[in-house]
Amino acid sequence: MPHHLLGVPGSYPLVEALWLLPLAGAILCWAFGPQLRTLAGWLASALVGASFVLAALSWGAATQTAGAALGASQALGSWLPGFDFGLLLDPLSLIWTFIITGVGFLIVFYSIGYMEGDRAYARFFAYMSFFVFAMLTLVLSDNWVGLLVGWGLVGVASYFLIGFWFQRPSAVAAARKAFVINVVGDAGMMFAIFLIVANVHAIGFGDVFSAAGGLSSTLVFWICAALFIGAVAKSAQIPLHTWLPDAMEGPTPVSALIHAATMVTAGVYLVARSAPLWSHNPQAQVLVGTVGAITALTGAILGTAQWDIKRILAYSTMSQIGYMIMAVGVGAYEGGVALFFTHAFFKAQLFLGAGLVIHALNNEQDVRRMGGLWKKMPFAFWVMLTAVLAITGVPGFSGFFSKDEVIFGDLQFGHPVLFAISALTAGITAYYMFRLLFIAFFGEYRGDVDHAHAPGWTMNVPVAILVAPSVAIGAALLSGGENSPWARFFAAQFGPDMAAIAHRPPAISEGVTSGIVFALVLIGFAIAWWRYASPGAQRDAGERLEGETRGMPAVLVHLFYVDDAIQLLFVRPAQRLGAFFGSIFDPHVIDGAVRDVVFWARWLGTLVRSFQTGLVRAYALILVFGATCFIVYYAFAAGALH
């Protein structure tokens, strides 16, 4: 089998350092936590920052092309023939590396202030650094097993961080749920790997992609489907999304980094990375696109019914990832990755802004107990406002460009229904994001914290830095259609795959779809304004919110009953079965059978025992009888008797 090179070997050796620096940070913070004290935060951010610098330096190496090879690769070692491990830096992994190390650096830096005074300060940074390392493993790996290793490690890092405050039972339960659901995804990916190895006898992306043309389309569909189970679990897609809102039990920087910017987008990365498989399989595309679109819509609808500021953002994340998954599913890889890229900035900004508010209000997360915060915390207000404008897709802000590209991608690749769903979702997104902004920052303050304590500069500076890209990076990179810097950057990566997808040019242009979407956004904004920010709504805001809480439809309160269904269909039966086996089957059926053997042995013993009378004379008689039998036998055998 010809080895298809995905990268130029050995052209950027520093990639190993880039990869391992956060691990060093994690080990140092973990081992020397008590000695480092507050230095742990600085150390961890420094090492993640250094990793970011190395990523920036790799720009040239990662985008180089040499024949069929794109980017840089570095061999690491091999378990067995066919099981070769290595690192790969190409445009796709470079984008993710930028976000992981860049946004990661800002958030770790922000945590220095946010986590101040925590009981396990150093441990937090150990986990955060470990997460960055795990996420880098995931995106830098040049094969599916390495990717799965990263996949599992980010899962466990996420588990640790969700359950970071593990004296809270809710955090413990949330962590457990997240972990188990993510293992469901891991199992799906493992199955994909079995399919791949059994048919291709290799695990490397390059080997598999070059062999993909020879595989039957059914097989490719099943590989894609199995991989997608992993993506569904990790990226909180329907129906395995329920862990993500619960994951907000973790500290806010964790929510910003893991459960908004990076880890939950791993599913997007997976589909984009496997583009050569998806591009040749329309069924797989429809599957992924549909799941993504439904998730986007469901997340948005559920987002309108939440009161916890982080849960609103969590459902918004779920919805946005649904967009991305839909985009990479239908084939709009550039668009999906672009939305990931911009979303990482503005969603991190939203979470960190929310973190400023929560931090200031002594861990208050219920928006009903906020209100009028723009006067108290103007900085947080501006941060949140710009981010909301970005996420809702107001023209000029970065979200506008990326979301446009995603929504238009549906039409471009021939999925009008998905287009309709995603346009509608854009309107709902505007409604719930402005709802959040209006309830929390407008009107009068409804809480009981007298003076909010101001965050230090270590928290404000990273947030301020994030504002710039979330406002401007879309315009800078994504404007210009086919010739945008973004499109040129990814031309070599996705060009052949996107060209392989059969599609007709859409009937309407991108400008028209932008107009439609923007109109829906305005409608969403208007409803939010009317319900929460108009002078009439402001007057009796407290009662109105209570009324809304009471009048919430049960189906939204119970989050479409997904949790209950999982509980009823899987968790309970497994527990019942375990209890039955453990306390009925084992002791009664299996041991019962053994006891039966014992019973019969004892019965036989009692029977034989009755011969053992203790009467010597009886024994003598039996002896004589036995001897006689022998004599008779030998007499017959000798032929003496006939």
Partner: protein, 472 residues
């Protein structure tokens, strides 16, 4: 060359000496022993660890050596023939390591006798794994039951457990001995382990296979022959259960790999499906039962049932890749189950309970203990990057390659269940609010830390680079 028998004899002799030497009379009772008794226990532990480390070193030094003395010439030839096969080498290393780690933190009544028993357990099991002769293998098979039997009888929670353990396993030993004798008579020699010879066929061969298989499956154990295991594992003191679950449960699997597979491949092939069905039942059965157990040691016991079922599936698939994976997983399971039992033992010593309903919130006061339990549990649930994952992945790839899809699906479901019960185990012990009525004792001491560290380190090392095991 001469070191091979010494490797086996050393722990036996040191153990016997420790047992036979005169001891202090009744002065002081655990947990407040007298100074003299404490000193006696310390000395025994130091000697025990030194002995186990010495066997480890001898194993490494004499990796390929063999040693043989003629035994029987009629009705078949047999020899006291010892020498590690490649698989046995790793299991023996695991055994020496686990024994050293277990002895280091032994804290029971009459420490010296217990250390002596552990050393004899090591010696008999080394004899088993280094045996190149089937008859010697069968001999040590029965011998290795005795230390555990006496351990259960004297230190266990209930004598009935000891008898249950002994009768089940001795029944296996009996069929093993009968099968060995029949094998020897038909084959002409029992000096066959690790040799390439013609496989055994003929009218008696299926019965011989059945005898071997029964012994191996009871020992492993496989559903429905497993009911001796949960009480044994929960009843034994932690140091011994660590060794038993880590290594003794591998005797059956090693038998399947080193005896049944090379000598009776036709029958393994013929009975692959029933074997696989039983193993798959064990896999799911152990997992769902572990899900609802409230005794921490029972959770791990049932998880062992589940995990070892996976190895049997691998062997029954007869796929070379799956068998490579099985070897990795044998070692990995040894490491993580030993670590789990040892750490749970530390927890029980500290809190006087191992009920998941009573424990909780230990993580704040005992971060190192929590870390150790966490790594062990993560390895057990197959976290990528740790050795358990490598074993699972390679096994399942091989099984799938061999054309079996349903066992793979069953195994994946069991992996999901494993994550659920092991995370529950960890969280119920370490996480949650701190429990009022649990005594607060010191975190992992340096001896305890040093005792589990090698196991955890090996898990990480083999998880990153399992090549030495995969290339056997």
């Amino acid at each position: 060359m001469a070191l091979v028998p010494i490797t086996i004899l050393l722990p036996l002799v040191v153990g016997a000496l420790l047992y036979a030497l005169p001891r202090a009379p009744l002065d002081g009772v655990y947990p407040e022993p007298s100074r003299r008794a404490r000193g006696d226990g310390w000395l025994a532990r130091v000697i025990g660890v030194a002995t186990a480390v010495a066997t480890f070193a001898m194993l490494v030094a004499e990796r390929d050596a063999q040693w043989s003395v003629r035994w029987l010439s009629r009705p078949f030839t047999a020899a006291f023939h010892f020498g590690a096969t490649p698989v046995a080498f790793w299991i023996a290393l695991l055994l020496a390591l686990c024994t050293a780690c277990a002895i280091a933190t032994t804290r029971v009544a009459r420490t010296r006798d217990f250390v002596a028993l552990l050393l004899m357990l090591e010696g008999t099991m080394l004899g088993l794994f280094l045996a190149r002769d089937l008859l010697v293998f069968a001999l040590f098979w029965d011998l290795m039951l005795l230390p555990v039997f006496f351990g259960l009888l004297n230190w266990g929670e209930h004598p009935a457990t000891a008898w249950r353990y002994f009768i089940y396993n001795f029944a296996g030993g009996l069929t093993l001995l009968l099968a060995t004798a029949a094998f020897g008579v038909i084959y002409g020699s029992t000096d066959v382990i690790g040799r390439t010879g013609a496989p055994l066929v003929g009218a008696w061969a299926p019965w011989i296979f059945a005898g071997f298989a029964f012994a191996f499956l009871v020992k492993t154990p496989i559903w429905p022959l497993h009911t001796w295991m949960p009480p044994t594992y929960s009843g034994l003191p932690p140091p011994m259960v660590a060794v038993v679950s880590a290594v003794q449960s591998k005797a059956g699997l090693y038998g399947l790999l080193a005896i049944a597979l090379p000598l009776l491949p036709n029958y393994v092939h013929q009975y692959a499906l029933p074997l696989m069905v039983l193993a798959a039942v064990s896999l799911i059965y152990g997992a769902v039962v572990a899900l609802v157990q409230n005794d921490a040691k029972r959770v791990v016991a049932y998880s062992s049932l589940s995990h070892l079922g996976l190895i049997v599936i691998a062997i029954a698939s007869l796929n070379p890749l799956a068998i490579k994976g099985a070897i990795v997983y044998i070692v990995a399971h040894g490491l993580f189950s030993a670590a789990l039992f040892m750490v749970l033992g530390y927890v029980e010593e500290r809190e006087d309970t191992r009920s998941l309903l009573r424990l909780g919130g230990l993580g704040w006061k005992n971060p190192r203990l929590a870390g150790a339990l966490c790594i062990a549990a993560l390895a057990a649930l197959g976290l990528p990057g740790l050795a358990g994952f490598v074993g699972e992945l390679v096994i399942l790839i091989g099984v799938y390659q061999a054309g079996y899809t349903w066992p793979v699906v069953v195994a994946l479901i069991a992996i999901i269940l494993a994550s659920a019960y092991l995370i529950r185990l960890y969280q119920d012990v370490m996480n949650g609010p701190e429990v009022e009525d649990l005594p607060v004792r010191a975190d992992l001491s340096w001896v305890e830390g040093l005792a589990v560290a090698p196991l955890l380190f090996a898990l990480v090392a083999l998880g990153v680079d399992p090549a030495p095991l995969l290339r056997l």
